[in-house]
């Protein structure tokens, strides 16, 4: 068997190289998110947002933008025979799951590097909340990457994959969304960041991440098989 870390690095490197070359996912995700902020900006007719509304606008926009990347995560494997090539190699399915989830995590972090400053410009009065916000987003992204990779690997074999992925993913992302917005809400409160129940929501996010990473580890070998 090829060591898992070698297979992980090979698949992750391949995915990032292909994305850098083709820019099929990231620009679309970023453009979608920025456009959504513009629509919220004019739709809500507010120059500043705070509390739960700000948390909801930010997280829901990131979640929907993530779906664009999740839909495309396994398209090359499906359409160019990558699944067969990977299954013919003496590697553990865990390496494929970990590499794909890592690639999606990189996309989400890159997306947020672009769209969180845009969100701050559109809706926030100060940038004081951004450092703790980054921590929340990283934890939420990890869970979204694990869940998104699982769902994407199942949906890609369906002709209705563009519909199936969001339909299955969104219900699974409800606990993640509750925890993420719960943690973000006090950070974006009027009058500056607060930390009411911040630790509790971070713990919920961590638990969600752990559960879906373990589920991926346990089932991905079966998902790869015929």
């Amino acid at each position: 068997m090829t060591p898992t870390r070698v297979a992980f690095a090979a698949i992750l490197g391949k995915d990032l190289r292909a994305e850098l070359r083709t820019l099929q996912s990231l620009p679309a995700m970023a453009l979608f998110a920025v456009t959504t902020f513009v629509i919220f900006h004019f739709g809500l007719d507010r120059t500043a947002l705070s509390g739960s509304l700000a948390a909801g606008v930010l997280w829901v926009t990131v979640l929907f933008a993530a779906i664009l990347g999740i839909n495309r995560l396994f398209v090359a494997e499906r359409e160019e025979g990558g699944f067969d090539a990977i299954r013919l190699a003496p590697i553990d399915g865990t390496a494929v799951f970990a590499a794909k989830a890592a690639a999606l995590l990189v996309y989400l972090l890159a997306l947020e590097l672009v769209v969180v400053p845009v969100f701050a410009v559109f809706f926030l009065d100060s940038a004081a909340a951004l450092p703790p916000l980054a921590l929340v987003l990283v934890l939420a992204d990890l869970g979204l990457a694990a869940t998104g990779t699982l769902i994407s690997s199942m949906a890609v074999n369906s002709r209705a994959r563009d519909l199936l992925a969001p339909l299955v993913l969104l219900p699974l992302a409800v606990p993640l969304s509750i925890a993420a917005t719960g943690a973000i809400e006090p950070l974006l409160a009027l009058g500056g960041p607060g930390y009411h129940r911040f630790g509790t929501w971070l713990a919920v996010l961590g638990l969600y991440d752990l559960i879906f990473l373990l589920v991926g580890y346990a089932v991905f070998d079966f998902l790869l098989e015929d």
Partner: protein
């Protein structure tokens, strides 16, 4: 000599349709088997089951001593599979694709690079190895696919129409990599018995019903007879 492939009562259905129905077959290590048959006879299904890419529906399947599907992990990495698709990423170059495959198969830095150089030279693809696969012709993609298939020095070659899209020069070049002189066990699916029969030790013809309708030594089968057997198998 031990058996590389042993099939007993292999069956595979796709919904209501039976693709393979009770296939019994064995193949000695180092020998070449030609699989002939009309479209839809189950040739590709048979090859994909042997490659561990499809689960058998029923029956016993042993490949290189491993029972499938349970012990598929034992033979992955020992099989070279060439299917209808080249299994190459279109947005990566040929060399990048081969490097990716080499890493998945555990080939390390300089050894992998030397092997990739050797294969690209052997298939006259060394000048185009840096081009994206999407920019290559079908014949060039097929040459790269053959490089991918043999990159990790597999013991068993499973080849589905290996000559497809190749010109005369290409056929001659890849023969050194996947032909009978390589000493590897080979299972070759083809619609062209005239060109390939001389390279095989055995030939089987699958009928439209997913059964073996003809099984003999390749030397005993006249190319025209083989063609008649294929045509007859459709009836």
């Amino acid at each position: 000599m031990s058996e590389a492939i042993e099939l007993r009562g292999l069956r595979r259905d796709f919904g209501e349709r039976t693709a393979l129905d009770g296939i019994d077959l064995s193949l000695e290590k180092g020998s070449s088997l030609l699989v002939l048959g009309p479209n839809g006879a189950g040739k590709t299904t048979l090859l994909r089951i042997l490659a561990t890419l499809l689960r058998p529906g029923a029956g016993e399947v042993r490949v290189l001593g491993a029972r499938l599907p349970g012990e598929a992990w034992k033979v992955r990495g020992r099989i070279g599979f060439l299917g209808h698709e080249p299994l190459l990423y279109r947005d990566l170059s040929g060399r990048e694709n081969l490097r990716f495959q080499a890493r998945l198969h555990g080939l390390r830095g300089e050894v992998a690079e030397a092997r990739i150089d050797e294969l690209l030279r052997a298939t006259a693809m060394d000048r185009r190895g840096g081009d994206r696969v999407a920019e290559l012709s079908a014949g060039m993609s097929q040459r790269l696919a053959i490089c991918r298939c043999v990159l990790h020095e597999p013991e068993l070659l499973l080849l589905d129409e290996p000559d497809s899209n190749l010109d005369g020069e290409g056929r001659e070049l890849v023969r050194k990599l996947i032909g009978p002189t390589t000493g590897r066990t080979r299972v070759v699916v083809t619609h062209d018995p005239k060109r390939t029969l001389a390279d095989a030790d055995r030939a089987v013809v699958l009928g439209g019903s997913g059964r073996v309708v003809h099984d003999c030594r390749a030397a005993d089968l006249d190319p025209d007879e083989a063609w008649s057997a294929i045509v007859g198998a459709t009836k």
